[in-house]
């Protein structure tokens, strides 16, 4: 009995004398890989469209290659409107609620609307982490009630901008302008 008691006391003493286990390392910071890679496409098209809006002369903002399509200015306005709409779906924020495509014609006004809309998307992107990219359903009501994740909405916006940048490329070429994506890199 004494032996057993001594054994218990001994074990207890050893257990008590063990140093505390080291604290668990802090969890790694959340990955930003998906958001970063989607942002690459966004930054690229933002740069192209912004530069195209700058390159196109004021007199060509009303140009349209055929009457069935948007003018240069309407394309810039349409991209601005879509940026607000789609980045708004992603972020839960709302834009100004006016249509640049339908209300603006002057180059400076459209450039400002475009820059403001990209700034709106920039803010939405900045608030995104990988924790929410796939986890939150968003309904893009204007676009056939399309269900999407937040990151999916961002990706959709970039691809939509690229489609209309593709329109602009052809318009610019028809006016002897070299579009930004084909221009030699600046030194």
């Amino acid at each position: 009995m004494r032996k057993a008691l001594a054994l218990i006391l001994g074990v207890t003493a050893v257990a008590c004398s063990q140093p505390a286990p080291p604290p668990a390392p802090p969890p790694p910071p959340p990955s930003t890989a998906i958001v970063s890679s989607l942002k690459t496409s966004y930054e690229m098209v933002k740069g192209y469209v912004t530069q195209a809006a700058e390159q196109i002369p004021e007199a060509k903002y009303s140009y349209q290659p055929t009457k069935d399509v948007r003018t240069m200015g309407q394309l810039i306005g349409h991209i601005s409107d879509a940026n607000y709409l789609i980045c708004g779906y992603s972020s839960g924020q709302t834009g100004p609620g006016t249509s640049a495509e339908k209300s603006l014609t002057k180059k400076a006004d459209l450039q400002k609307a475009l820059a403001d809309s990209f700034a709106f998307c920039d803010q939405a992107f900045a608030a995104m982490t990988n924790d929410v990219v796939g986890g939150q359903d968003v309904t893009m009501t204007v676009i056939n009630n399309m269900k999407t994740t937040r990151a999916g909405a961002f990706a959709f916006n970039s691809a939509h901008d690229m489609e209309h940048y593709g329109n602009l490329v052809t318009y610019m070429r028809m006016n002897k302008m070299v579009p930004p994506s084909s221009a030699p890199p600046s030194k």
Partner: protein, 192 residues
């Protein structure tokens, strides 16, 4: 106690039956890969527009271009094939990138020396390759480095390609409109 238990059970069964009767359509199952599935859905949509586009080009417009500084219809489809192959060959399981079609960057392009049927076959094969590439991506591996190289993650590389071919679909839309042809994306849908 037994009576109470039976009553509760009956109530649950009744409520369940009522609920079933009021909601004839069950909600769609939640995808295990909401993000990558979605990017694939978008890609599939523009793939459909582009596949329809190559069928729609009139025979006498195959080498048409709106101005000498841009690609013809034929070369644009060749270029899209090259884009797809460049982005998807590794994820799609090939050991080497398929030969490019739209070279050289001129009217001497191979896309002009081949028949329309040959270009179309290569074009459709390039989409089949990207379909295979998408099968290799899910939300668990989406953020892993892209084996296609240079474009970030697996999902990022495929999303980039989708955006890029969307740009060229934008070219084609204007080409079609200049020829009084309604592009596939405007047939039966709104402004987007």
């Amino acid at each position: 106690m037994k009576v109470l238990g039976v009553s509760v059970l009956a109530g649950v069964v009744f409520a369940g039956a009522m609920l079933t009767a009021q909601t004839p359509q069950q909600p769609a199952p939640v995808s295990a890969n909401p993000l990558s599935d979605q990017i694939k859905t978008y890609y599939t949509r523009v793939k459909g527009y582009l596949t329809r586009s190559i069928e729609m080009v009139p025979a006498d417009k195959w080498k048409w271009q709106p101005t000498p500084d841009v690609r013809t219809f034929a070369r644009t489809f060749g270029h899209i094939s090259d884009d797809n192959n460049g982005a998807c060959w590794q994820l799609g399981g090939l050991s080497a990138r398929p030969a490019t079609l739209d070279t050289p960057d001129s009217m001497d392009s191979k896309a002009h020396s081949m028949t329309r049927e040959e270009v179309t076959r290569i074009y459709l094969d390039s989409f089949a390759l990207c379909d295979k590439a998408f099968e290799q991506v899910n939300d668990q591996n989406a953020a892993t480095p892209s084996v296609a190289g240079g474009r970030g993650t697996r999902l990022g590389s495929l999303a980039y390609n989708w955006a890029h071919i969307n740009e060229h679909y934008g070219n084609l839309v204007t080409y079609f409109r200049l020829n009084s042809i309604v592009p596939p994306s405007s047939a039966g849908r709104g402004g987007f």
